[in-house]
Amino acid sequence: MKAVRLATPLFAVLLVAAVWQLAVSVFKVPAYVLPSPSQTWSALGDDWTNIRSLAAQTLYESAIGFLVGAGIGFALAVAMAHVKIAHRVLYPILIATQAVPIVAIAAPLVIILGYGLAPKLVIVGLIVFFPVVVNVLDGLSGIDAGMVNLARSMGAGPVKIFLLIRLPATLSPLFSALKLGAAYAVTGAVIGEWTASITPGLGKDLLLKNSRLDTAGVYADVLLLTAIGIGGFLLMTILERVATPWRTRSTARRWFRR
């Protein structure tokens, strides 16, 4: 069973590579239009030492932006769940932030925020925070009112009720949002680098390679960026399993038995 679960994504990867290779071969696509998987793979290998440190930079930006976005999203959701008027006023604004084409405001952001991490955090954060707000709000409003009443009947104060009853109920929807956000964060980092970078990362490298018509190099970068996004997604999947053991296990883990 476990083998099958691991095998299908692997099969999916091979399938994509096969279709890609086939398309390139059959339609005789030149490499400067679309390199084959093998050309892309060797471009990745050739430039590996350089790319590796660039990837670290992009990973860093995505990760920090992701954390900031998720943190702000979570805080907003909690505030909105508890203060009705905040919910009413903020919700349309949050919707609006998602309708703003981020690519279009990236350039002005640099001019306002400069070349540091700030504009990248804003861009990544803007992408990540929204699903977090929506899902955590869902989680908080989905709590069985009876459970809160039970806690109240035991004489528990609002802080304890929040920590022991409300908070854990948000974990599952929170992780759904985080999984998505982790995949999207990399796109945010790329947009951020394009518009505001002194420290070079993969996004910048991609531009450079593109301007030099090094298409295989561009695809190698895209491949690596995609891998980072998928890696983030998988990391969140693992964290989810650890943080919400009751969803997948019958009994508590040994070191967590209390």
């Binding site: 459970m147 009947s153 004489g155 296990r249 009994t251």
Partner: protein, 252 residues
């Protein structure tokens, strides 16, 4: 042991205009087992909420051991109709929930919880999450949680409503054993007249519009009670009395 544990003194509850519970009084003796029956909406849950301190009465008050506890939660163990087990806490974690919510669940609390679970047949499940338990087991854990909250008075609101007839009978007998072990005072809501009579020292029949106590029946059946009790003429007689009171307004 026969002094008054709980006094419901002229309690009335209104939601806006609506009178959910008309002025109601009841004295409950220490260690007594009282069951409440009555049609939906007659204020049974409202009355429990008042005793639990979750609902402040519009007028009147609730005394426990002579002290006014109206509107002050935390003095009774309250079990709701749904088991309301916290999905992310194990059986042990759920049993010690009261301690965790009001301070810190100590290792002693957890040891006690495990002992309780063991004593009442859930020893193999102390580290299980609720989703892995059957309905009957969940209900049992919910009751243990209420017991482990260490209050002299237990309020049980239709605790067995969701169980099938056979599991229900097992749970009733188990509850009677627990009650006998611990000597606590129990207020128990049910829709099932058999259950009400089978468990109680006194059966309180309530009626709606407005919610009020309509009659109180003393149940003199000897204890311990078993399945056979259900078939005795005394039981049948008592049941028909309660039923007659409960449905007399339906036949008009």
């Amino acid at each position: 042991m026969t002094d008054t544990k709980l006094t419901i003194d002229g309690v009335e509850v209104r939601f806006g205009e609506a009178l959910a519970l008309a002025e109601t009084g009841l004295e409950v003796k220490n260690g007594e087992f009282i069951t409440f029956v009555g049609p939906s909406g007659c204020g049974k849950t409202t009355l429990m909420n008042v005793v639990a301190g979750l609902q402040r009465p519009t007028s009147g008050r609730v005394l426990m051991d002579g002290q006014d506890i109206s509107g002050r939660p935390g003095h009774v163990g309250y079990m709701f109709q749904k088991d309301l087990l916290v999905p992310w806490r194990t059986v042990t974690g759920n049993i010690v929930l009261g301690a965790a919510l009001t301070g810190r669940a100590t290792n002693a609390d957890r040891a006690d919880a495990r002992e309780l679970a063991r004593r009442y047949g859930l020893g193999d499940f102390v580290d299980h999450y609720p989703h892995a338990l059957s309905g009957g087991m969940r209900q049992r854990v919910a009751l243990m949680r209420t017991l482990a909250f260490h209050k002299d008075v237990l309020l049980l609101d239709e605790p067995f409503g969701a169980l099938d007839a056979q599991t229900r009978l097992e749970m009733q007998q188990w509850l009677l054993q627990v009650w006998a072990d611990s000597g606590r005072t129990v207020l128990f809501i049910t829709h099932d007249v058999d259950e009400a009579v089978f468990l109680a020292d006194r059966v309180v029949v309530m009626s709606p519009r407005p919610g009020r106590i309509q009659a109180i029946h003393d149940v003199g059946l000897p204890r311990p009670r078993t399945v056979d009790t259900l078939l005795t003429p005394d039981f049948m007689e008592l049941k028909s009395q309660v039923l007659a009171g409960l449905y007399h307004h339906m036949e008009g």
